[in-house]
């Protein structure tokens, strides 16, 4: 059925082209029927792309090697889960996923707010359509997943590094994040184009932005977990360009989620907010370009292709369009409200924004510098971890401090005296924790010690915020402690959901400081019966074994694990030799101590002819808090995103006659 797939993509391209041209004309001339027709074309394009996606899924599930894409990405012995995940493991499938998610999200966002789009923000349709048109163009004319060939007897298989459960979920999460950022961008630009710069675009896109940001953040963590297990160097984040590509839009979207509150509360930062929305979107395009173009060498990049120039051209056009539109609406956007005090919540948000954007820009410079250097000087250079670590500390530590200080500063202005009195307890706890850790020997890593001290400061502030809020609600006579606590969160979901997300960031900081500052590394060649000690652990090599897996020959070193003189279990580490792919992968051994949050991480680097094995043994303290932080992060986001019936009623009343659909967003 490749013809059906191709036809569906051509139909989608035609429909999206119609949505852009007719939608643009209808918006310009104020023609409602034409706009409805263009909107329907966008909906129909989603259906057409859905059919194309189903054709590809059917081809993958049936291992139809007459599809060039299926033959390049899978093999007969590849397990079904990975075979289906091959949808997004190659370039053409990834682009199709992008277009599917984009047309789906666009259809949902427009359908939920159809009256608003029709009456106030008609430009949403052609703007969203333009982004979709670019991807449809690539799929139809440059990188079709439906190219066919004479079917070979077997496929080339999947890169062994991709054969990991986390790699099934990681790319779709990132794409949901990247694509999700198109929605606030499209509504913001439509608001500018329609000269409707009130709060409606913010209200409509609030949850879309939060959802996209959550998917992106969780996707980054899934990628880190994959790298930790699959790449096998014992770390979790290596400032790889593709990792950075997802981190940059996430940082800018984080800045936006904070600064948009200042606009809602104080009607300030209106220009800044549209700049951030456009920046997050452009960086999400740039991220896709980095991952998919093959211009950079990365452990996460599995593609070499010719789509790079198209992407760069589109990013340049989108950037020029955004800048021109924002500049042309500056007078409409300028706010009369000024900052009342440098010690206020809005000022804290402003500082937070400056640090977040500065961090994103320094990462961006680190990513593009090698490309610029090669293009201008013809010299290939690489920007290493020390550069990123330096700026992560310089901008990251003040950000962590602000996470502790910001929540206790009042809006408008706060006196330094009342601020100091609120920070006495967190500061005391932080100093106490720092002192105890110093006495316990944590001074071996000054950065780790500072990280833990700051973490104690912020965590105490968060806990105290919950206590103060609950006590205040209870004092109003709202039942018992539990009812006051649940009422507090239910009536202030964004604030307390945000605090839970802050707690997640602190868990991540503790985990990162643990693995970065206090891990133990040992290595050595062991014959059967010999052992290697690392930290409290001793690993004894008891022999090796080989077995045939589903699609690979597996060799494993068997290890006894001793801790403080006591046998606590066994584990295996080894390698897989994949048949179809003719490649070998490291299969690390990980033994988790959930109580301590630490991992014993073993890499069997070399199996020698004499039966000995070269082992690398690493003890990673607190690393599991990084993964736990992902769950807490999702919980906090869910709390912040959960619809608030009271707020929806208020917004519905405000927008009555203006498009009550806004309240459903």
């Amino acid at each position: 059925m490749p013809e059906l797939g191709r036809a569906a993509l051509v139909a989608a391209f035609g429909l999206i082209f119609y949505a852009v041209v007719v939608g643009g004309y209808a918006s310009y001339r104020g023609r409602r029927r034409l706009l409805d027709s263009a909107t329907n074309a966008l909906f129909a394009a989603f259906a057409a792309v859905g059919i194309a996606a189903l054709v590809l899924v059917a081809a993958l599930a049936g291992r139809d090697f007459s599809f060039d894409y299926v033959a390049r990405m899978t093999s007969r012995e590849l397990p079904l889960g990975y075979t289906l995940a091959a949808f997004w493991s190659g370039q053409e499938g990834s682009l199709l996923l992008w277009l599917l998610v984009l047309t789906g999200a666009a259809s949902a966002a427009i359908a939920l707010n159809r009256r608003l789009v029709r009456e106030a923000l008609p430009w949403t349709v052609p703007i969203i359509g333009s982004v979709a048109l670019f991807f449809a163009f690539l799929l139809v004319f440059v990188a079709s997943p439906f190219a066919t060939q004479a079917a070979p007897p077997d496929g080339a298989g999947m890169n062994p590094s991709l054969q990991n459960p986390y790699m099934i979920a990681h790319p779709p999460m990132l794409y949901l994040g990247y694509v999700g950022l198109t929605i606030p961008f499209a509504f913001a630009m439509a608001a500018l184009a329609s000269r409707r710069v009130d709060e409606r675009w913010i209200v409509v896109t609030r949850r879309w932005t939060l959802a996209a940001w959550t998917f992106l953040g969780f996707g980054i963590l899934l990628g880190a977990k994959w790298a930790y297990e699959e790449v096998g160097w014992g770390g979790w984040y290596a400032w790889d360009p593709v990792e950075n590509a997802a981190l940059m839009p996430w940082l800018v979207a984080t800045a936006f989620l904070h600064s948009v509150m200042v606009q809602e509360k104080k009607n300030m930062l209106r220009v800044w907010n549209v700049v951030l929305v456009a920046g997050a979107f452009l960086l999400s395009l740039f991220g896709t370009f980095l991952t998919r173009s093959g211009v950079i060498s990365s452990i996460h990049s599995f593609t070499q292709s010719s789509i790079g120039p198209f992407f760069l051209g589109f990013i340049a056009v989108a950037a020029a369009f955004s800048i021109a539109l924002i500049l042309s609406r500056l007078t409409l956007l300028r706010s009369k409200t000024r900052l009342e005090s440098l010690v206020s919540r809005e000022a804290a948000f402003l500082y937070n924004n400056l640090f977040l954007v500065a961090l994103a820009l320094t990462i961006l410079w680190g990513v593009i510098y090698p490309l610029v250097s090669e293009a201008v000087r013809g010299v290939a250079v690489s920007v290493g971890a020390p550069y990123y670590d330096f700026f992560a500390i310089v901008f990251g530590l003040p950000l962590v401090l602000l996470m502790g200080i910001g929540p206790v500063v009042a809006w408008r202005r706060a006196s330094l005296r009342s601020l100091a009195s609120l920070l006495v307890v967190p500061a005391g706890v932080a100093l106490g924790v720092g002192l105890v850790l110093l006495l316990a020997g944590a001074g071996s890593s000054p950065a780790g010690l500072v990280g833990y001290t700051f973490a104690a400061f912020v965590m105490t502030t968060i806990v105290l915020e919950f206590i103060r809020g609950t006590r205040a609600r209870k004092s109003l006579g709202n039942g018992g402690w539990w009812s006051a606590f649940s009422g507090l969160i239910a009536r202030n979901r964004r604030r307390y959901g945000g605090y839970i997300v802050h707690a997640a960031i602190i868990l991540l900081l503790i985990g990162a400081a643990g693995i970065g500052g206090f891990s133990t590394h040992e290595q050595g060649r062991l014959s059967q019966g010999e052992s290697l000690a690392a930290g409290d652990y001793r690993v004894v090599y008891t022999g090796s074994e080989q077995q045939r897996g589903a699609n690979a020959q597996e060799v494993r070193a068997n290890l006894d694990v001793w801790r403080n003189g006591e046998l606590v279990g066994t584990m295996q580490a080894g390698k897989n030799r994949y048949f179809a792919e003719q490649q070998t992968s490291n299969e690390v051994g990980i033994r988790t101590d959930w109580l301590r949050g630490e991992d014993l991480f073993v890499i069997a680097d070399t199996f020698n002819q004499d039966g000995s094995v070269f082992l690398k043994v690493i003890v990673n303290p607190l690393v599991n808090l990084i993964w736990l932080s992902g769950l807490v992060f999702v919980l906090g986001s869910a709390v912040a995103m959960w619809p608030d019936a009271r707020e929806q009623r208020r917004l519905a009343a405000r927008f009555a006659g203006e498009g009550a659909a806004v309240a459903r967003a």
Binding site: M1, E3, L4, A7, A8, A11, L15, Y18, A26, S27, G30, R31, R32, R33, L34, L35, D36, S37, N40, A41, F43, A44, A47, A48, I51, R118, E119, A120, L121, P122, W123, S194, R195, R196, D198, R200, E264, K265, K266, N267, V409, A410, W411, R412, R413, A414, S415, R417, S418, S421, L422, R468, G469, R471, A472, S475, R650, R654, F655, G657
Partner: protein, 109 residues
């Protein structure tokens, strides 16, 4: 198989054409889309100001109750905020009155 694919493709194309053309076949007067209406914009701005002032008042009360804001600062801030709420409500009332008058004039004509 190719024939089935072609038939499905043709069916898809026909369905898309009908779906996209449907709004164009609607009877009745064409309403303008997306043109800003100054009265509607003013009203929306006033509603946003009212909601913003009310939310700020609520926030100030909560911050005071949780000890984030001193009594002195509270006393200094509460007056202007209450005035802002009052002004926003008054401006909205004025706008409503003007709307009603306009409607009455329109009805009389």
């Amino acid at each position: 198989m190719e024939a089935v694919a072609l038939a499905l493709g043709a069916l898809l194309a026909a369905a898309c054409v009908v779906f996209v053309a449907r709004p164009l076949l609607r009877q009745g007067r064409e309403e303008a889309a997306g043109a800003p209406n100054p009265e509607e914009e003013t009203r929306l701005r006033l509603l946003e100001e009212r909601d913003r002032s009310l939310a700020a008042l609520k926030e100030l009360e909560f911050d005071h109750r949780t000890g984030k804001i001193s009594d002195e600062d509270y006393r200094a801030l509460i007056g202007p905020l209450r005035r802002a709420v009052g002004e926003a409500l008054k401006a909205l009332e004025h706008e409503d009155r003007q709307d009603r008058e306009r409607e009455e004039v329109d009805a009389a004509l």
